[in-house]
Symmetry: C2
Subunit: 352 residues, 2 copies
DNA sequence: TAGCCTAGTCGAATCGATTCGATCGAATCG
DNA sequence: CGATTCGATCGAATCGATTCGACTAGGCTA
C-alpha cells in the first residue's frame, strides 16, 4: 500500500523478501560462498516473485572493477572492416576465446572525430587490428586509461602484446615458387598502402609513404625475389578491385606479366576473373598467387594457389592474450606462419 | 610519503588536488553545470598532473543507469553472421545511428549454452536480427531484464519495435517481371529454412517446417506467381551455395528452367557462375533474379537484376528506434520496401 | 541601502552490487 | 563436559562517479 514499488527489483529487495541480508543474497546468486540450500532456494524464489533478472551488470562491473567487455578497434566503417573475410575470421576466433571467460566484444569504430569511443567506452582490454589508421593515437589513449592492449599485425612493439604474421617471408616463399616455375615477368597487386584508399600504380614514392605495415611487408617479400616487379595499388581487398587491377596489368599483350602476386585472395580472385574476361587462360597463360587462404566465395572451380594464413588461430591467439592479460598470467607475443597451398592457378609460363 | 598512491587516479583525487569538491570536478568534466573557466582549467590541469583519463565509465553507467551500449544479438558464429553483406550493411547503418548518442555495439553471439550473454551483458537496448535461431527465448530474457528490443525482420509482433521488409510482395514483383517476360519454367534457390542448414530439395514438408520468416515470405511471394515452382534449399547465402544449387537445377537439359529466382544476390551470382560453367548464356538462355541489391563482389561484368532492399537504411531505422526507445520518444515500427532493379541478367526466354 | 537574483561551489545521498571480517550456533574432539 | 572448529549468515565499507538542493557572494534594481 504505502511502498511505491520501485520500477526494477534490486538484490536488496530480493534479500528483504527472502528474509536474509543482501550479502547472503549475493552469495546465493554468485555461488561463490557457503550458503545453505534452503536459503539459496528461498532467495531464488523471492527473485522469481519479484521478477528479478539477476544482478545488475553495471553495479557488478563497478564493484568488481571489471566489465566483461573487450573492445575491438576497427577502421571507421563497419562495412569496410567486415568485408574482409580474414578480419571476420579473426574476430570469430577472438570471440570464441574470450567467450571462455564470459567476455564479449564491443565494436569500436576508430573515427577520428565524434564521441571518441576509444577514450570513453567501458572495457577491460582492447584488441587493435593492424589496419586501422589512427593506431598509434588509439594506443596512447588506451594506455593512459590503463587498458591493456593486444595489437594484431601492427608495427612490432606496439601494444602490450603483439600477434604477428610472417608476411614478408611468406610472400617471398610464394615468389620463389613462381621463380622455380620459371616466371620472370611478375606483377604485384597490392593492398591499400595508406589511409586514403585510391587506385594507383605502385611507385617507389607511394611505397615509401605507405603506412600499412602488412602491405609493405608483403611488397618486400616479393621484392626479395623480383626486385623490379611493377605493381598496382588497389583501393581495398575486394574482387572487384583485383579485377580492375588485373584488367590494367593484362591490357597490353606486349608487356603482359606471366604471373601476378596478389596480396589477398579476393584480389587474386579478381585477377583470375579479369584474365577470364580477356580470354587469358589460368594457369596456362597466367599464374596467379593469392594470400590469406580464406575460402573465397565465388572462385570455384578454381583452387587458388595461395599463402594460407591461420586467421582463426590468430584471432584465438589474440583472445588468449587478452585472457592472459586479464588474469595476470604471462602474455607473450605470438608470431604465426603461413603455408603455401599449391592450387591450380600457378604453372610454368607458356613457352613462347 | 604516507599516502600510498592509488593505482588509478579518481575524480575525487583530481578534485582534491585542484582544491575543489568532487561535485565541482564532475561538473568541470561533464560540462553540464555552471563552472567558472578558472576552476575548470584548474581541474583539467590537476587531471593532467595525475594522469587522470576521464571519469570511469563503469561508475558512470551505474550512477546514470545507462551504459552507452547497444547489444546486437547475432547467430552463434560471427563468421557466419558477417558473411552476409546485408547483415554487415545493416550493422553499419545501425552503428552510425547509435553513434549519434555516443553508444556503441556489443556483439552477442546467441549460442544456446555457455555464459548466457543475453542474460548478463550490460546494455541499454538490444537489436535482434531476424535470422537468429533462439529469437523468442532471447526476447523473453531481455524483456524480463527490462531491456527494450528492436527486432529486424522477425515475425511480426516480436520485440518492442519491428523493422520489416516487404519480402513477399517484393519477390512477387520480381516473379511478375519474369512472367511478363514470358517465363513459365521457373525454379527457386532458397535461403536456409531452419537452423540445421543443409542442402535439400524444397519439399512441401520442408517448407512447412521452416522457421526462417524471411525465407518463407520470399517463397510465398514467388508462389503467388508460380505456385508450382520447384526449388532447392541452400545451406547459406553464399555464391558457392548458389553455384551448387545452379548446377543441380540446370543439370538436365530436358527439364531445365528458363529462369531462376534466387533469394539473395550471392546465391544469384552463384547461379550465374554455374550457368557460365555449363555453357548456358545469361540472360539469353537463362534469366537470373536476385534479392538484396548489395554490390556483390565478383560478379562484374554482370549487372544483376535484383530486388534492391535498403540495407543501410534498415540498420539506420533500427538505430533510430533504439535512440527513440532510450530517449523516451515515440518509436514506431518501420516497414521498408524493395525496388526492382533491372540489370542484364533477365530477358525473355529463348525461342525454341 | 534594502531586496533579489544569479552564477559558482559544496555536501551528502545515491546508483546496486560485492566482499572482508565478525558473529553465532551447532557439531566435533579429546 | 569444555574447548575448538566449521559452516552459515550478517554488517558495513567500498567501487567512482552524478546530481539535487542548499549556501555564499557579488551585482543589479528600485
Amino acid at each position: 500500500m504505502s511502498t511505491p514499488r520501485s520500477p526494477r527489483p534490486t538484490l536488496a529487495g530480493v534479500a528483504r523478501l527472502a528474509g536474509v541480508s543482501p550479502s547472503t543474497a549475493s552469495l546465493a546468486f554468485s555461488g561463490s560462498g557457503p550458503v545453505s540450500d534452503a536459503t539459496r532456494e528461498r532467495v531464488l524464489a523471492a527473485a522469481e516473485t519479484l521478477g528479478y533478472a539477476g544482478p545488475d551488470p553495471r553495479a557488478q562491473s563497478l564493484r568488481r572493477g571489471r566489465s566483461g567487455i573487450v573492445g575491438v578497434v576497427i577502421e571507421d566503417r563497419i562495412r569496410d572492416a567486415f568485408r574482409d573475410p580474414v578480419t571476420v575470421q579473426m574476430l570469430d576466433g577472438l570471440s570464441e576465446e574470450i567467450g571462455s571467460i564470459g567476455a564479449s566484444l564491443l565494436l569500436i569504430p576508430d573515427t577520428g572525430e565524434g564521441p571518441a569511443d576509444v577514450g570513453t567506452a567501458p572495457m577491460d582490454a582492447a584488441v587493435l587490428i593492424g589496419c586501422t589508421p589512427r593506431l598509434a593515437e588509439s594506443l596512447a589513449i588506451l594506455s593512459r586509461r590503463g587498458i591493456p592492449t593486444v595489437a594484431i599485425e601492427a608495427d612490432p612493439g606496439l601494444g602490450d602484446v603483439g600477434v604477428s604474421l610472417d608476411n614478408r617471408q611468406a610472400t617471398r616463399r610464394g615468389a620463389e615458387h613462381l621463380r622455380s616455375l620459371g616466371h620472370t615477368m611478375v606483377a604485384l597487386v597490392v593492398l591499400p598502402l595508406s589511409a586514403d584508399r585510391s587506385r594507383s600504380p605502385l611507385t617507389a614514392e607511394a611505397e615509401r609513404a605507405g603506412t600499412s605495415h602488412v602491405a609493405r611487408e608483403r611488397i618486400l617479400g616479393a621484392r626479395d625475389v623480383y626486385p623490379d616487379a611493377p605493381g598496382v595499388v588497389t583501393a581495398g581487398s575486394f574482387m572487384e578491385e583485383g579485377r580492375l587491377a588485373g584488367l590494367q596489368l593484362l591490357a597490353r599483350p606486349e608487356d603482359r606479366p606471366t604471373a601476378v602476386i596478389a596480396q589477398s585472395d579476393l584480389l587474386a580472385a579478381g585477377v583470375v576473373r579479369a584474365a577470364e574476361e580477356l580470354g587469358i587462360a589460368v594457369p596456362q597463360q597466367l599464374s596467379v598467387l593469392g594470400f590469406d587462404g580464406v575460402r573465397v566465395d565465388g572462385i570455384a572451380p578454381y583452387d587458388l594457389t595461395t599463402l594460407v594464413q591461420p586467421a582463426v588461430p590468430k584471432g584465438r591467439a589474440a583472445g588468449a592474450a587478452v585472457v592472459a592479460l586479464l588474469t595476470g598470467a604471462d602474455a607473450p607475443s605470438v608470431a604465426f606462419e603461413s603455408v603455401l597451398h599449391l592450387g591450380n592457378t600457378t604453372a610454368p609460363p607458356a613457352a613462347r
